[in-house]
């Protein structure tokens, strides 16, 4: 028996390509046809480009119709590839759910977010492979042929299943899965903060003390009730994971300051999934939803592992 399928049944899922350029004009020559093709098909084009590139592209296209701008991390200091990927997934989920059509994403490397070694880009693209897996998006990430850090090219080759060469998408034989990428190059620790305002050890029976500590830290600042309750929930979920899957004892640290509340949960365990909570959990799956919700609530949620165990740093502004 032959099963008939319609074209729409074969829906687009993440198509993630890397492309390389030798100059700004080369970059533009590659961007314009991609944007043009999508716009002609009536599909939205989402941009994560440097301001100068975006301006030049708009000039070449002659209009901003159909274009959307994606959020970019503010600085390398607070940038977290997994946080940026989670946020991009949220934005794209919203665009695809309103238009119902695939979205073309044009992204560009910017040395502003390189940090010390360019590892941000490796983490971002690995995390995008997880976070965008179920979304109907065509992502093309542009990198300079000669970036400052070799890591950027290495990461690009490992993370992208497709390469755009001379306008053609080709299979990339160097591509490996995001979890393998992160095994060889784990998510980096975030910047060091000074001594915390509060530090406490907790067990599974002291989660209410964790919640109270966070509540009190939020009370001092101007968080609305709903926002404060959501942040407490986020920290509770990460803390629960730590004592449930990590070690019986875990540690909470809280920093308060002008940049919002920062909470860190440290446990002595290892991670089965190096990028927890990036994919919307299946309704029937009881686990994994807590961290996913925590990622939606927090401005940034960065998970990393070192010899001492697993660490999660959350930042939440009012």
């Amino acid at each position: 028996m032959r099963i008939e399928t319609t074209r729409s049944a074969a829906a687009v899922r993440l198509q993630h390509a890397a492309a390389f350029h030798g100059s700004d004009s080369d970059l533009l020559d590659q961007l314009v046809p991609l944007a043009d093709t999508a716009l002609r098909a009536g599909e939205a084009v989402a941009l994560a480009l440097r301001p100068a590139t975006e301006q030049a592209l708009v000039e070449r296209l002659g209009s901003t119709t159909g274009l959307a701008r994606l959020h970019q991390p503010e600085s390398a200091d607070t940038a977290s590839g997994q946080t940026a990927a989670g946020r991009r997934a949220m934005e794209l989920r919203e665009i695809t759910s309103t238009t119902g059509a695939p979205v073309t994403v044009l992204a560009e490397h910017t040395s502003r977010l390189d940090g010390v070694d360019g590892g941000f880009w490796t983490e971002l693209d690995a995390a995008l492979n997880v976070a965008l897996a179920e979304l109907p998006v065509r992502v093309t990430c542009f990198f300079p042929e000669l970036p400052l850090h070799l890591e950027i090219l290495d990461g690009a080759h490992r993370n992208h299943p497709l390469l755009l060469r001379a306008g053609q998408l080709r299979h990339n034989p160097q591509h490996i899965g995001p979890r393998e990428v992160l095994t060889t190059r784990p998510a980096p620790p975030p910047v060091l903060l000074g001594p915390p305002d509060l530090r406490m050890e907790f067990s599974a029976w002291q989660l209410h003390e964790v919640r109270t500590a966070v509540e009190q830290a939020l009370e001092a600042a101007d968080y609305g009730r709903e926002r404060a309750e959501d942040v407490v929930l986020a920290v509770n979920e990460v803390a629960t994971n730590a004592v449930e899957h990590g070690t019986p004892e875990a540690r909470l640290s809280i920093w308060t300051g002008p940049g919002g509340l920062v909470c860190e949960i440290d446990d002595g365990g290892t991670l089965r999934d190096p990028l927890p909570g990036l994919q919307a959990p299946h309704p029937a799956e009881a686990r994994g939803r807590g961290v996913w919700i925590a990622r939606q609530v927090c401005d940034s949620l960065h998970v990393w592992v070192d010899a001492r165990g697993t660490h999660v740093r959350m930042r939440a502004t009012p």
């Binding site: 599974a204 989660l207 919640r211 709903e226 309750e229 509770n236 009881a286 686990r287 939803r289 919700i293």
Partner: protein, 298 residues
């Protein structure tokens, strides 16, 4: 010999030993509400606990603000509570008698006294808790007063509880299905339970067990309602796995039965919404409708 009762609404002078704060608010609110219902004046001696009692009264749909405005619910501020509990016995007897006489003169059918008396443990006025209690006992013999003395385990040492318990003829004992100090579950009727406090990783399995037992009972009895109802008015926190387990439990109910969550606070409602509650056909979520917004239900 201390007699135990499970209904504190009409006792004259009874003690109770709540095992948790949640039970403390529950017992106090029930005692207060019964007084307001019967046209008595209720005097609550506050010592940093009144907010919780008022919150619980609001959870129980008791209109708090009108009662405070018309004087039927009088809250003695913490300072005044402590002043009373270091006054000489005669002065306390006079204050209480005068309060009752005044209330009766205003048209109240009697007076109810309760509150937080643990400051008396310090014997700041050289008078013991037991001696103050004797004064209350005397007054209840002569005047229309009901007194509920609460010796909760968080604020009273074991020795003091034993001593005070022995001095009371009546002890109010309200059994719970479960109480761990953070979460308290009480059976409130056929296929109905009240879940108060906080649900997290430490006690989450209890919810599942409660639902299994309640459903089992309902399925075995033809007279039992087909709605299993959990009153969540006093549930202040529900974690994500707790919300997921409620949603999953409802999905696994036989098609004849539904899980009804009543009086759900906004905070708990948001977690349920994020965990797929709107898509579970056999789950009915009834958000709390606040008659009074000022009194804080989080």
């Amino acid at each position: 010999m201390t007699r135990t009762v499970d209904d504190g609404r009409s006792v004259a002078h009874a003690c109770a030993v709540p095992v948790s704060d949640e039970q403390l608010w529950e017992m106090t609110a029930e005692f207060v509400a019964a007084g307001l219902n019967r046209g008595e004046q209720v005097v609550y001696f506050d010592d940093g606990t009144a907010d919780h009692v008022l919150e619980r009264l609001t959870d129980d749909c008791v209109a708090v603000s009108p009662s405070i405005e018309d004087g039927s619910l009088a809250i003695v501020p913490p300072d005044a509570t402590r002043t009373t509990l270091r006054s000489p016995l005669l002065a306390v007897a006079e204050i209480v008698s005068a309060t009752v006489d005044g209330a009766v003169a205003q048209g109240f059918s009697g007076v109810r006294l309760t509150g937080q008396f643990n400051y008396a443990l310090q014997r700041a006025g050289g008078v013991s808790l037991a001696e103050y209690d004797a004064v209350f006992d005397d007054v209840t013999r002569e005047r229309p007063v009901r007194v509920l003395c609460l010796y909760d385990r968080r604020r009273f040492p074991e020795g003091a509880i034993d001593e005070m318990r022995a001095r009371h003829h009546t002890e109010l004992v309200v059994p719970a299905i479960y109480d761990d100090g953070l979460l308290r579950i009480t059976g409130t009727g056929p296929a109905t339970a009240r879940v108060a406090g906080e649900v997290d990783h430490s006690n989450r399995p209890r919810i599942r067990r409660l639902l299994e037992a309640t459903l089992d009972e309902a399925l075995r009895s033809h007279a039992a309602p087909t709605d299993i109802t959990l009153d969540l008015s006093s549930l202040r926190f529900l974690d994500v796995a707790g919300a997921v387990s409620l949603v999953h439990a409802a999905e696994e109910f036989p098609s004849s039965h539904r899980l009804v969550l009543a009086g759900v606070r906004p905070r708990v409602l948001r977690v349920l919404d994020r965990c797929g509650a709107p898509f579970a056909a056999q789950l009915v979520v009834r958000p709390r409708t606040d008659v009074e917004s000022g009194v804080g239900a989080r």
